[in-house]
Amino acid sequence: MTDAVTRCARCALSAAFPSIEFDEHGVCSFCRDKMMATSEQSAIDRAKEQLTGLLGQRSRPYDAIMCNSGGKDSTYTLKLAVEKYGLRVLSFTMDNGFISPTARKNIEIVVDTLGVDHLTVRPSSRFYRRVIKATALLPIYQEQTLRRISAGCNACISLVNTTALKLALEKSAPLILAGFTLGQIPANAIIYRNHFRFFEESRKDSLDRLRAAVGDEVDDYYGISDAALDRVESYPFNVNLLCLEEVTEDQIVAEVEKLGWRRPADVDGCSSNCQLNTFNNFVHQRKYGYSPYELELSHLIRKGLMTRSEAIAKIEDQPVENLRFLARKLELSAQERVQLGLPDLENEP
């Protein structure tokens, strides 16, 4: 596939990315550092200092709940947590029903190799389908949020975050770990206290829209009761250990392969665990004109951790032939498929 998209000459950001401007050499305003308000290095240094303080307080039975998707980044983060930082970890996977069989196997092998406890939480497939359909068809989230992530992934990760917080509160774990990289999250969010009520205001409107589309069940999955929150003496910190590492994707893959991890062949170039990612990317690309991975991958290019051609190859590696099976599994109606611009499924075997 050729790169027909107009992109920055240095990174993978395309001309459709919000507020982007190019100079006479075709270099975007992000690469010229015109749109970064705070120094990333100072935020990283601050996070490292803060982490040292946090690691001084250990807890039983677990120091941390690890959001383990089975992808390479969360697998590497789990390895860092156990081997580099010596944390007692409860690994947790949100099984959304679209995890690649290879990724499932990876999770089993890696938690056994590292010797950590593991828990799988699988929400009702009917509920999950309705959530993903709502995020694909309706404007549930703010556009600011969707610059970094597709709507479907955002819904899924919000569910992961809420479940992880419930687990952390239940187990009195002071840390919640996730495998986010810089670009996926801002540098100031490498470590932050997960105060549920602190974020309530920012989630209220989107949760109201999701509830209107899906039903009151949304509160069971995305909410935490006032009674439970009233009992909280201290909220855990969310920590993204991978943001503190200078490491390339190849190095990450080489390290996790030593644990028995294998790259799934049935996912797109931007995911190493979830088949649904291709659908979420397709919807985002069609609606906004750019990939939800552009910001993250461009950040890796600027840091020298990925080449521009590697990043573009990942963005373009979208097995659109899987959209048929995904549309069926999501039980999209003919009208919904047309609305989303999906391939015609009529007369398909």
Binding site: P18, A37, A43, P186, N188, H195, F198, F199, S202
Partner: protein
């Protein structure tokens, strides 16, 4: 609005426009930045870090209310009062 709050408002606006890719004229000063779609939960984290690091004012979790953070104007007034030790 007193002069210190006006100064803080200008700094907040500068940060918001640079960090979240919006024009100053697009930010409604009396409406919530979240409701306007200017920031999300990560934006809220970034904003509090900016206030603490650049304006030298500590933000407590109990401060995150619509009264204090419900708009740029409310934030500026709140931060100015906190800096004077009034809140």
């Amino acid at each position: 609005m007193e002069s210190e709050a006006l100064r803080i408002r200008a700094l907040l606006l500068g940060f918001v426009t640079r960090s979240f890719n919006v024009a100053e004229s697009d930010v409604k000063l009396d409406e919530s930045l979240i409701d306007q779609g200017v920031i999300d939960s990560f934006g809220l984290v970034e904003l509090t870090v900016f206030i603490e690091k650049e304006l030298g004012v500590t933000i407590r979790e109990s401060d995150m209310t619509r009264q204090a953070f419900g708009s740029v104007n409310k934030m500026a007034i709140f931060i100015a009062a906190r800096a004077r030790g009034e809140r």
